[in-house]
Amino acid sequence: MRVGLFVTCLVDLMRPSIGFSALKLLEHAGCRVVVPETQTCCGQPAYNAGDAKAVRGLALKFMEEFAGCDYVVAPSGSCAGMIRTHYPDLFRAEPEILAELEPLCRRTYELTDFLVSVMKLERVPGRFSGSLTYHDSCSGLRELGISRQPRALLAKMPGVRLVEMRESTTCCGFGGTFSLKFGDISARMADHKCDHGEATGADALAGGDLGCLLNIEGRLRRRGNHTTRVLHIAELLAGEEGQD
């Protein structure tokens, strides 16, 4: 099975270890992974800023790069959601493009969803031991229905004790450019997330989207919390947490 890894722009720039973790997990699951080198960004920032036109080129580029893949997998519900639920909307009036693009979009998965729903993964290599609390990122949760998948995978790691926080499904305040445009509201939302996460007493807070994790970690550190670790689910599952 040929699986294209969509690394995502944020992982590429800010935390490559997540990309390598995803790669390791997919290979561990028995996939033949290809990583198209020319990939950049799914275009969601422009799409949500109200510039759908700018995204069309990126969607076509994606289509070309991942054309031969049986599946495309991204370690982000936000990017996978963008591709799967919004890309086809950009070409509603162009049936020829849609005919090629839409099937590819339908085969685009968020990492944990893919490992659970498609690969039916039995064992995970991760060895984290300690307590964890999980933040459900918005796009993954509401566009792709990702909630039980990461938890099911974490349950396969005997050392992990999952302690759910209050309001785990409430937005952390990231929202891409929202966090820049409305920094104060965004930081307040992150504050609530930090409060709820800290209240669980968990050693680490985990999630499936780097944007949210940078936001939450950024707020935790600014508040003076330098102990709660903030980890991506891929790093945990692959046993690569703490590696750059």
Partner: protein, 468 residues
Amino acid sequence: MECSAGEFKHRAAQKLGDVKLQAALRRLQDKFVDGRAAALAELDGFDSLADAAAAVRERALADLDGYLLRFEREAIARGAHVHWAETGADANRIVVEIAAAHGVRTAAKSKSMVSEECGLNHALEQAGIRVTETDLGEYILQLAQEPPSHIVAPVVHKSKEEISELFHEKHHTPRKTDIAELCREAREVLRPAFLGADMGISGANFLVAETGSAVIVTNEGNGRLVTTLPRVHVVITGIEKVVPTLEDLATLLRLLPRSATGQAITNYVSLLTGAKGERDPDGPEQMHVILLDNGRSRLLGDELQSILRCIRCGACMNHCPVYQNVGGHAYGWVYPGPMGSVLTPAYQGLENALDLPHACTMCGACGAVCPVRIPLPDLLRRLRERQTERGLRPWRERLALRLWAWTAKRATLYAVGTRAAAWLLARAGGKDRLLHRLPGAAGWSAGRDMPAPPGRTFRDLYRERGRR
């Protein structure tokens, strides 16, 4: 009501610092969010019911003029008068004319967001008519001279203590702190206003085309008194509120209170059909229904049409993490939260509410809870696109986006740019590997650090690995 949505940012900042408001918003969330969840859990199949409710509303909108004309015919046949108002000012004028024709000096009002839209109270006072709000929340706001901050719980921003102080000051009575006592005091003040009012003014949650009825869904008894005691009853409502049949109404009534307050049904559901008939023991001698457009018909056939399905339950704002932190007044017009962020630019002009469609993280919580399936995030995104199309975004933002999109399409250039950025950010991270300041992103770094990247992009590391 005057629109001050342009001041959203500034207002929101104030509201974030308002400790009392923050406590009030927390209480609202606990009550309404948990209440809704519990009420819907009793009901099996929110999804299928919401689909049915959305279909009812779409059916009404698909033939809106037809249903409105049917409503008019049926209402007239039952002795009511029907008036059509294009703007808020037209609606106000019609009410004032009705008042003049019937020698009305005093009016008692039950809750109506549409009348807030028109600024009706002000217009009536100008015409020398004394208006008393009789919904407890609206009455408090009338005393405090403030607009509502929520469409279902208008006074949610005020604490019990503030209300106690207000009553003490305005009623010249001893301070009370017990909620029941405060309610009793309000009731005592309001009773004469009901009994003496020449005109009762209400909104309508729905209009039923097949019977010509106006439906109000309330929890306080005031709505009944306002619509039955005074000689003249005026209903003022939006043209989109019509539903074809009583059966359709029943579908919507299963969802409205559950979504709004977490109740299976409200204390009162009144179907007001025509003026007092010969054999009726009570009721108004005159019933007038004013159907307000005020921008609604412009949305028919538009990409934003689905917002007209709204049944004003308030669930979207109760679940909106932005509303939960800034409250309704920050939004600057009648309707706050996600539905308000669509309605305000739609009714008051895109350019007068530039921030509202952007004051949203696209988290999708609103769309998920909306009982009539309005795709609120999509509508907000569509409004953002219109701002772009009409050149209403700041040029810096446009330039940055364009430049970024242009680069993202050129893999080699993009790789060079990100390689440099990764290197720079890593260097700037310092010993604690945190960026305390981000040039050009003050919005981020005012309240957050940025965890620094390790310094090499995935792309470069991957290629290197391949070579090894």
